[in-house]
């Protein structure tokens, strides 16, 4: 295993991504699932920064830009997601994700 910073950063971010994935898959509380998804988003942001920092193109701040927009979208996503959770809670009196399946075929 090399000690270059770029692979390390990427390993870090993929580990974070997989943790988020495991959380989203394993937990039944919708809030925790949403938080897992937030973690996955953050892992993607880590990649942007890592490539911006150590990638081939050095000058423009494109990676930073992307992360800024991504954070804004994540904020919107969190607000809408949690509002959805509250709406779901009002309908079925709990927020277990596997019970929210009324539209199944």
């Amino acid at each position: 295993m090399s000690l270059d910073p770029l692979p390390l950063c990427l390993l870090f971010s993929s580990a974070l991504f997989c943790l988020g994935l495991i959380g989203a898959l394993a937990r039944s509380n919708t809030i925790l699932v949403l938080l897992g998804i937030e973690l996955m988003l953050n892992a993607a942001n880590l990649n942007f920064i890592a490539f911006w920092r150590y990638g081939p193109v050095t000058s423009p701040a494109t990676g930073v830009m992307f992360v800024i927009f991504s954070i804004a979208v994540a904020a919107a996503e969190a607000a809408v997601g949690l509002a959805l959770i509250i709406a779901v809670y009002r309908h079925q009196k709990n927020i277990r994700l596997q019970e929210a399946n009324r539209l199944k075929g």
């Binding site: 994935l21 989203a24 399946n101 075929g105």
Partner: protein, 668 residues
């Protein structure tokens, strides 16, 4: 204090912002909207003063600032601002008179429930008018021109619940639009031949030597040179906007609007736009075109003065006098004296605004009574209004030496006399002077002297200071402004023609003309006094007949019907229009309607056939297919488990499988 042409847009932008504030404020924000409108226009006035001082520093220069609006294929459409003495004088006048009228409106419209909209519209109007003045592109000028038309439509029809006001607004809008069509055609033709609509553009503008030379050498069409044709088309727009014969009919009807609107639109600004346009494009006009303009102007001047003699409505008399005075201005342009035309425009703006505001003051005091037969004896009750109104009238008539109208009219007469072309305009103008003096004497006598001939007139009293103060200020200028352009020291004309030196000449040079016109004025006043002044004591009731009607009943009735122009138009254009409409209607109903009915029957028949075939033949097959589709859909829908975890897991596993395939496949 100086102003770069680059910042000229601030002048129209300020009232525009005020209009926007007005549009966005709720109905209750009366004082805010009125305050914003007045403050914005006052600021515009100060900036206009800065512009004026800049322009006067170098009157021959045309300071411009051009920029690209958008590009369309290979053509770039460019707009710009222009600063020269013409623009600067007009801007200063419009903002100053406009501010006074706005202030007057505070009092006049105070009880109106749509007070807020009124100031919003006024600001919009002022913005459009100022935009028209600062434009360095005929396109931008045309856009603002149309905006002015829209604003005047809104303002004339402000009391839209009155059917007559709504009709007058419509009439004004449509009549001016006829002229605008000619204007637009002229613009397109000009763009086609000159390749630009910028007025001044470092030698490439349409008013500069290159383009003018190119136009002059262009081929002729039907005996007219292209330049003359374009000039006359542009003049069409001015005819509509400035109420020249034969499109003058809208202007008197526009008096249905509130009086400050009449003062603003029909005295100071909008009607002046046509004259301004002609003065602006003056370098473009050929002698042929100028001849036509002079004759139209002369006819208008005579016509307006003649009709005004037999009107009873206070504001309508003033309106016809406006028509007549605009005729004078056009006449001046036609005889080659645009600076005299603008001089008269400026003086006229002040004294006509004064007259309209004075009329507004009278009307407001007399509980919205406008019929001069119902008024009378107001000189005692409204001393200040009477004094200022009298000053305005004397300026309008051209009472010698001390009133501005005298000097500006003198300049026009002088130019008309000196012209190389036809002398018809000159004689028409002289007759107009007599008539003007006559009907104004009648107006003053009927309104302010004698007995109050109605309840309203007897109980009128002077208005508040917010209404009388503008009158006093305007009266001052109605006197003072004339001294800017006396033959002895024609400062204004010199600056307008781009000269820095002023070449005055002694009064004695044109003394014959001076004496002649003074005599004509005296004649008119004398005739008016003889006919009206002496009989005032006898008439105490509103029903008493007009002395002129007794003297010449048929002429009076004909004049009173405004030479039956409306009837003439109704009988000619109206009848043709109605006929065409009826014909189209018939054609629509029977011919096209028949075809459509036939097609519809055909469709109905084929539909019946289709349905039969469908029900008997096709349906069985479709039903079977639908069943199959539904079954397969149900099968697929089982994959839709509603288990979000399952979807996510599926996604992740799918990713792993695909990645493995890619890695192993790529490695192989």
């Amino acid at each position: 204090m100086s102003l770069s042409a680059q910042y000229l847009w601030v002048i129209p932008a300020l009232p525009l912002v005020a209009a926007a504030i007005g549009a966005l404020t709720p109905r209750s924000g009366r004082s805010l909207v009125a305050g914003a409108a007045i403050v914005a226009l006052a600021l515009s006035f100060f900036i206009s003063c800065a512009a004026l001082s800049t322009a006067l520093a170098n009157p021959a220069a045309h300071l411009t600032h051009n920029f690209t609006w958008f590009e369309l294929g290979n053509d770039t459409v460019r707009l710009g601002w222009l600063l020269d003495p013409l623009t600067a004088f007009m801007c200063t006048m419009v903002t100053f008179v406009g501010t006074l009228i706005f202030i007057f409106s505070l009092g006049y419209m105070h009880e109106d429930e749509n007070f807020k909209q009124f100031f919003c519209f006024l600001s919009l109007f002022a913005a459009a008018m100022l935009g028209l003045l600062v434009a360095n592109s005929l396109l931008l000028l045309f856009i603002c021109w149309e905006l002015v038309g829209l604003a005047s439509y809104l303002l004339i029809g402000f009391w839209f619940h009155k059917p007559s006001a709504a009709a007058a607004a419509k009439k004004a809008f449509i009549t001016t639009r006829i002229g605008d069509l000619g204007f637009l055609l002229g613009l397109l033709w000009l763009y086609d031949s000159a390749g630009s609509l910028l007025l001044y553009d470092n030698g490439n503008g349409v008013l500069e030597a290159t383009a003018l030379g190119a136009l002059g050498s262009a081929a002729t069409v039907c005996g007219l040179s292209v330049a003359s044709a374009i000039g006359l088309l542009l003049f069409c727009g001015a005819v509509g906007k400035s109420g020249q014969f034969p499109l003058h009919v809208w202007l008197p009807d526009a008096m249905e609007g509130p009086t400050p609107v009449s003062a603003l639109i029909h005295a100071a600004t909008m009607v002046a736009a046509g004259v301004f346009l002609m003065a602006r494009v003056y370098p473009l006009l050929t002698p042929d075109a100028l001849q036509v303009i002079a004759i139209i102007g002369a006819i208008t001047a005579l016509l307006g003065a003649t009709i005004a003699v037999a009107q009873y409505d206070l504001k309508r008399i003033l309106a016809f006098s406006t028509v007549s005075q605009l005729g004078y201005m056009m006449l001046a342009i036609g005889v080659g004296a645009p600076s005299a035309a603008i001089f008269h425009l400026l003086t006229h703006a002040f004294f006509k605004a004064l007259l309209f505001l004075g009329a507004g003051s009278v009307i407001h005091a007399a509980h919205h009574e406008q019929d001069i037969r119902q008024l009378g004896g107001l000189s005692v009750k409204m001393k200040l209004t009477f004094a200022t109104f009298a000053i305005g009238t004397m300026a309008l008539v051209g009472v010698p030496l001390f009133f501005s109208g005298f000097w500006s009219k003198e300049a026009i007469l002088h130019a008309a006399h000196a012209t190389a072309g036809s002398h018809f305009p000159f004689y028409a103008a002289l007759v107009g002077v007599v008539l003007t003096a006559f009907y104004n004497t009648r107006l003053i006598a009927e309104t302010f002297f004698g007995h109050g001939r109605s309840h309203a007139a007897e109980h009128a009293h002077e208005n508040s200071a917010v209404m009388t103060t503008p009158l006093v200020i305007l009266a001052f200028f109605a006197i003072a402004l004339g001294f800017l352009g006396t033959p002895v020291y024609p400062w204004l004309q010199a600056r307008l023609s781009g000269e820095t030196a002023v070449h005055g000449h002694s009064l004695l040079d044109g003394v014959g003309l001076l004496v002649l016109s003074s005599g004509l004025v005296a004649l008119g006043i004398g005739a008016g006094f003889a006919l009206y002044g002496r009989t005032l004591r006898l008439r105490t009731k509103a029903t008493a007949p007009d002395p002129l009607a007794i003297a010449a009943p048929r002429t009076h009735a004909f004049l009173g019907d405004r030479l039956k122009f409306d009837e003439l138009y109704a009988a000619t254009f109206g009848v043709v229009n109605t006929f065409l409409a009826t014909a189209s209607d018939w054609f629509d109903r029977s011919v096209w309607g028949g075809i459509v009915h036939f097609l519809a029957l055909l469709g109905e028949f084929s539909g019946t056939v289709n349905r039969e075939a469908d029900e008997q033949g096709l349906n069985a097959g479709f039903d079977a297919t639908s069943e199959k589709l539904r079954a397969s859909g149900q099968a697929y829908s089982r994959a839709q488990t509603g288990d979000a975890h399952g979807y996510l897991r599926f996604l992740a596993v799918g990713f792993v499988v695909l990645a493995l395939v890619a890695i192993l496949g790529g490695g192989a």
